[in-house]
Amino acid sequence: MPQIAQLAETYSSQIFWLLVFFGLVFFVIGRGMVPRVMATVGDRDKQIADDLAAAQAARDRADEEEDAWRIRENENRNQAQALVVQAKADAAAQSEKKIGAAQKRLDTKLAEAETRIAASRDSAMTEIEAVAAEAAQDITQRLAGVKVTKPSASKAVKEALAHV
């Protein structure tokens, strides 16, 4: 077994060169290069985490804006609806007013016409009475030779007309 047979002559060389080369590996690679490799990994992890956080923040902001937009939109819709209702009410009130005015005009015209009609009828009635009274005087004069006064003739006519 050379490990034991050569121990006395080789141990110092083995230990010396192992310390030299393992020392180089430790200080150059372990202390010098490995931390930089790990830093690269750390930087990458950090960048990924940052990007994810930024994306999350952007999404949150978008959600917020959407909510705000929704609220604004609802307000606008409500306002529009109120405007429509208001306009409807206005229009209804106006048309009612117009209809009322027209009705009033018609009513006055009707009333005037009725008054005129009534007046015409009254005047016609008076004329008829007068004519009837004259006719009655005439008839009684001619048939019975009785002279009837105008007032009694017209009184009789009135009575007779009242019975009609």
């Binding site: 077994m1 050379p2 490990q3 050569q6 121990l7 002559e9 080789t10 141990y11 110092s12 060389s13 083995q14 230990i15 010396f16 060169w17 192992l18 310390l19 030299v20 080369f21 393992f22 180089l24 590996v25 430790f26 150059v28 690679i29 372990g30 202390r31 290069m33 490995v34 931390p35 930089r36 490799v37 790990m38 690269t40 990994v41 930087d43 990458r44 960048q47």
Partner: protein, 262 residues
């Protein structure tokens, strides 16, 4: 070494030879010959450097190579996070170096480079190497433990709810199990790597000797051994990963003891 011509010595692959005429290099009287073992440590370090360097483009959207490197650091980071918690992050450089160095050493040692005449050397099959790594891990545990908790660190050896009269018995048991840790850590990796490589070499000697002994032996012994070698090679790739993982996992568990006591 003592192998005859045509024979396979399963132990020869662990033989350490100085190369580049460096067998007399010394520091303070200690021999520091640049051996085949040292060369494969260097190759492992270079390959590992190229692997990590290829993943350092720092792209926001990583390519395949960058994903491999980032998942290997992420794997160690997750393991330390799961075993130690938030405090574990500062041990990522050490545990990553440990895990990847052992993993690459194990895998490079399995490369079938023998067919082009280069013999890979698995330095993790030497307990001088695994022992040093285990001692480094154990030293970190001791330093962190005493640095953070002072003498309170000894309460690690008295589990919660131990009845008072049991403490004098429990304490030495826990202490010994704690002190055995570096040895178990080192021996586990060394034995696993050595056993696998020896097994592959023994089987390959069956294939060679069996085939040389004639067509009958070749079919009877050589062919099944060869099929077994293919399966065991796949298993060895798995073992290479598992042993590196176990070494790193146990290191992180021991560091957890030092960081958080119980």
């Amino acid at each position: 070494m003592a192998a005859e011509e045509g024979k396979v010595d399963p132990m020869h692959q662990f033989h350490i030879e100085p190369i580049l005429g460096s067998q007399n290099w010394e520091i303070a009287g200690f021999n520091i010959a640049f051996t085949n073992s040292s060369m494969w440590m260097m190759i492992t370090a270079i390959v590992l450097f190229l692997f990590v360097w290829g993943g350092m483009k720092r792209d926001l959207v990583p390519g395949r190579w960058q994903v491999m490197v980032e998942s290997s650091t992420g794997f160690i980071e997750d393991m330390l996070d799961a075993n130690i918690g938030k405090e574990g992050k500062k041990y990522v450089p050490y545990v990553f170096s440990l895990f990847m160095f052992i993993l690459f050493a194990n895998l490079l040692g399995l490369l079938p480079l023998g067919i082009i005449g280069v013999h890979p050397f698995t330095f993790t099959s030497h307990f001088t190497v695994t022992g040093v790594l285990a001692v480094i891990s154990f030293a970190i545990v001791l330093l962190v433990g005493f640095w953070k908790h002072g003498f309170h660190f000894f309460s690690l050896f008295v589990p919660h709810g131990t009845p008072l009269p049991m403490i004098p018995i429990i304490f030495p048991i826990e202490l010994i199990s704690f002190l055995v840790r570096p040895f178990s850590l080192a021996l586990r990796l060394f034995v696993a790597m050595m056993a696998g490589h020896v097994l592959l070499k023994v089987l390959s000697s069956f294939v060679i000797d069996g085939t040389n002994a004639g067509i009958g032996f070749g079919l009877l012994v050589g062919l099944p051994s060869f099929a077994l070698m293919i399966g065991i090679s796949a298993l060895e790739i798995l073992v290479a990963g598992i042993q590196a993982y176990v070494f790193a996992l146990l290191t992180s568990l021991y560091i957890n003891d030092a960081e958080n006591l119980h």
